[in-house]
Amino acid sequence: MSLRDQTYLRIVLYEGRDAEPLDSEQRFQAVSRLLNQGFALTHVGGAGRTAPADDVPALVLGRFQNGLEKLAAEAASERVRFTNVSGLTDEQIVAAVESVRAEKQAVQHGGWKPWFPVIDYDRCTNCMQCLSFCLFGVYGADGAGHIQVQNQDNCKTNCPACSRVCPEAAIMFPKYKAGPINGDAVKDADLEREKMKVDISALLGGDIYSMLRARSERAQSRFSKERDSGKALNERQKCLTKLAQAGDIPPEVLMSLPSPEEILRRAGEAKAKALAALAAQR
């Protein structure tokens, strides 16, 4: 399933003219539940402004008494549907929204944890190191040879490894635990630290993935000869924990790395893409 090219549904919780307000607790519970189910919503209260109209289908929820027909006539659009939530519990409100979502075949949220790199173009120098490093095709370049994050859902959940190879500390993972990777301001000391990490990876052969994979395989073959599987498991966990701590790379990612041949093939492909993008800039 592609993340893009999907149908969207705009949810509006309407408490303006011609509708009764929800009671405070019901409003909070309904909004919280909808958000926790992955929906976005526009709340129309008595004051303030909301985002402009657009051409996506809309579902307007409200406690409409006699005002519904008037509002529907004003809407005069087949894209806009109204649902009277008078007497519904917050669970029932969410169920009503979900049923319209399913009917419209609109985006179903929650199947993917949105973990992916975000480039700070105020820092990025377009050096393409991230593109050459990533084996999963997350990065690409636009027609003018500018680095882009193109396949966000190819990124390995909780793995911020590429942010460590960026010499400018320009790669953020907004859901990461610490700065500057989480988007906090970059300090001079961070930059020094980031640079050091690149040097370390260069010392280790320049390709952190090959290094990790080799270590992981060496560990595996050693463990396979072990008689005491409990001890082997322990050691394996210790080794992986160490790697994970050193490079911040989750054990699941290490374990899901492709074969050495496949790594070589993908690294070659990524390098060729990076070189082509650099050539396009000239």
Binding site: L35, P52, V60, I119
Partner: protein
Amino acid sequence: MTPDTPGILYCNCTYAQIIDPAVKGHVLRRLCDSGKSFEAVADLCEMSARKDPALKRLAGGPGVKIAACYPRAVKWLFASAGAPLDGARTEVLNMREQAGPAVIERLLADDVQPNLPPGKASPGVAPRGQTPEPEAQTGATSAEAPASA
């Protein structure tokens, strides 16, 4: 309501546990009780990855106040989805760092205190220090006109 009232956007960061639930709960409850219109989204990161067209309308308008996380992250999440925020008219409240009462106080205030990091507005286009012209409005959804949503 005046035509230049800033919009309010709350991000629930639904798919990660990086914001203290007490902070989120405080901000959302006070927002719900404020009587103001607002936008609430489950997860701005997810919307950015999808290039959700809603980001363009959320970024448009005469200013916006966003309760989410670090301003630098929010700036580039919008920009990389093709919906750059206007640096002169955007204030980001950081629920990872600020306490709930401080966030809601600024979120409900009528003025905008811009705090996006200065620099380019979009990936590789405008030079540093410049922001693009705001996008043309396509008609407002308001308390008076819900049907145009």
